[in-house]
Symmetry: C2
Subunit: 316 residues, 2 copies
């Protein structure tokens, strides 16, 4: 059984970095719901703006720029959370563009920190047990941002496109370089060359860097059956863009649900070796908007494995 956190025991810290509308909140939400809010604290670090929306008018940078944010205070707060200390976190109201009353955040056993710049500095990175970068193809991310900002935030498509253009140099300079520091790089995308029926979930490609210990995937893959187009998952050795070796785990969105079930079950078993307490809610995984996605669920399961594994190691 997972023990109550001992006095002085530190929370397990997971970073989920990525550009605007890359899917950070979706990924985070399933993890929080699966582990339970009594054990997990989610923090968005996009609230550390130095200027409110009015003050930013005429400034030579967008909200993405480190100079537009209290990076030193973000670092300080990440350090405090990683030591199990509470923080009084600033709050930026995305609806009004105003900085408002800060809120008390008390870290529970697990802390997920998502946002634009959680991996920007060395000190911030040092606070995390597991680091993730969400790396969808840019056209896909742009369409997600269009959907969200026009749908929920009341912008016109032209406004969103103008904002994307304005932000692009800073995305390139500050957001995307964080990919390099991730233990796991997650890319949801359709598989090139396939034409699948509408509604087919996106596949996921997960680059697993040898910077943390990944679960025994050979065993999972053996259970999934011989590699092939109809298997839910396969693993291949890659060189990343920068020449560094990585494992690439391909999770196929187009396979029959029973194929995905075999993989999910196999990973659940490995998660179960880390926690026998049955307090996890498997139904929380894979949800996005109104639908569900097995590649998303499998990605979350892998992260869950890492969270519980880091916790287990601390306890050992």
């Amino acid at each position: 059984m997972l023990r109550a956190r001992d006095a002085g025991r530190r929370p397990v810290m997971l970073a989920i970095a990525g550009d605007s509308a890359a899917g950070k909140t979706t990924l985070t939400k399933g993890l929080v719901e699966c582990l339970g809010e009594d054990r997990m604290t989610a923090v968005c670090v996009d609230d550390y703006h130095r200027y409110d929306r009015k003050e930013r008018v005429g400034k030579p940078f967008t909200a993405l720029h480190p100079d537009c944010n209290h990076i030193d205070i973000m670092e300080q707060h990440l350090q405090l959370l990683s030591m199990g200390e509470p923080i009084l976190k600033p709050v930026y109201d995305h609806a009004t563009g105003e900085l408002v009353r800060p809120e008390l955040v008390t870290p529970k056993d697990f802390v997920i920190v998502e946002g634009l710049l959680p991996l920007h500095t060395r000190l911030a990175r040092a606070c995390f047990d597991i680091t993730v970068y969400l790396d969808p193809p840019e056209p896909l991310r742009h369409s997600w941002k269009q959907q969200r900002d026009c749908g929920k935030r009341g912008y016109t498509p032209e406004q969103v496109q103008a904002e994307l253009d304005r932000r692009e140099p800073e995305s390139a300079a500050y957001i995307r370089p964080q990919r390099r520091w991730a233990d796991i790089v997650v890319r949801f995308a359709p598989v090139a060359g396939r034409v699948d029926p509408p509604g087919t979930p996106l596949s996921a490609e997960l680059l697993l860097r040898p910077t943390i210990d990944h679960p025994d995937l050979a065993g999972v893959l053996a259970e999934a059956g011989p590699a092939g187009a109809e298997t839910a998952m396969h693993l291949s050795l890659h060189r990343d863009d920068d020449g560094r070796p990585v494992d690439a785990l391909h999770v196929h969105g187009y396979v029959q649900p029973n194929e995905s079930e075999i993989v999910k079950k196999a990973i659940w078993e490995r998660v179960g070796q880390r926690t026998g307490d049955g307090r996890l809610d498997p139904d929380a995984l894979g949800r996005f908007g109104e639908g569900t996605s097995d590649p998303l669920a499998i990605t979350q399961l892998l992260l869950l494995y890492h969270l519980l594994d880091a916790d287990h190691r601390q306890a050992a």
Copy 2:
């Protein structure tokens, strides 16, 4: 010459604790103006309210109660400031009773922390080099609060009295016990038994506890001349209410200005031994409202001595 603060050198931290309208801001203001805002940061710790004014309605305590404040965050921020780290300090708007956008505070060479509860906990006290408690007689403090709250904050005298009554149990339980932890207890009051012309400044009684090294007062007193009613200052050995021995420094408000000048000059010389840089503004001391007070100036001079002495010791 006072050197620029070396990397890793910590600010000198001074606490000024006391009840509402005890004179904390007046005392602080002169010190900041004398040392200069480029070298001194003043922080009020009455902004760590857990609830805004609306939320406090119906709560079984006033804003004075530790449970009504983020004491743990105040402690954390005091620790950070004492290590030279910036904080994002919460801000309570006393005009509207709302908690608003926090502000960045970067500690300079000297940090004055004034407020209701800076000495409430052991951890908070440990952050200070010098601790002061302002201890005016209660009737005097009540009249100051009436003046201020009716004049500047728009309350009626009845409202202010009702608030004083409501706060009294918590003043007794949480504010006044901090007197025990002060290196210097400052009491401005008329001298019992004297009838002085209107406009005569209040005298000051300073209890100097042997918890820090006070300046060579014997020398100052010798310069001031033989103890007597017309001398600006005299020292006497006391037992405090709790039986502990203290020096009581009596600074007389009713003496001729030239008598006070002698004492001020003598203390300035001792301050000068700590700093030869001439960057201090002596005219900033002793000001309150539209008037000036030599006992206030002498009190501030003593605190200035301690600030510079603590800085000097760090550098040594």
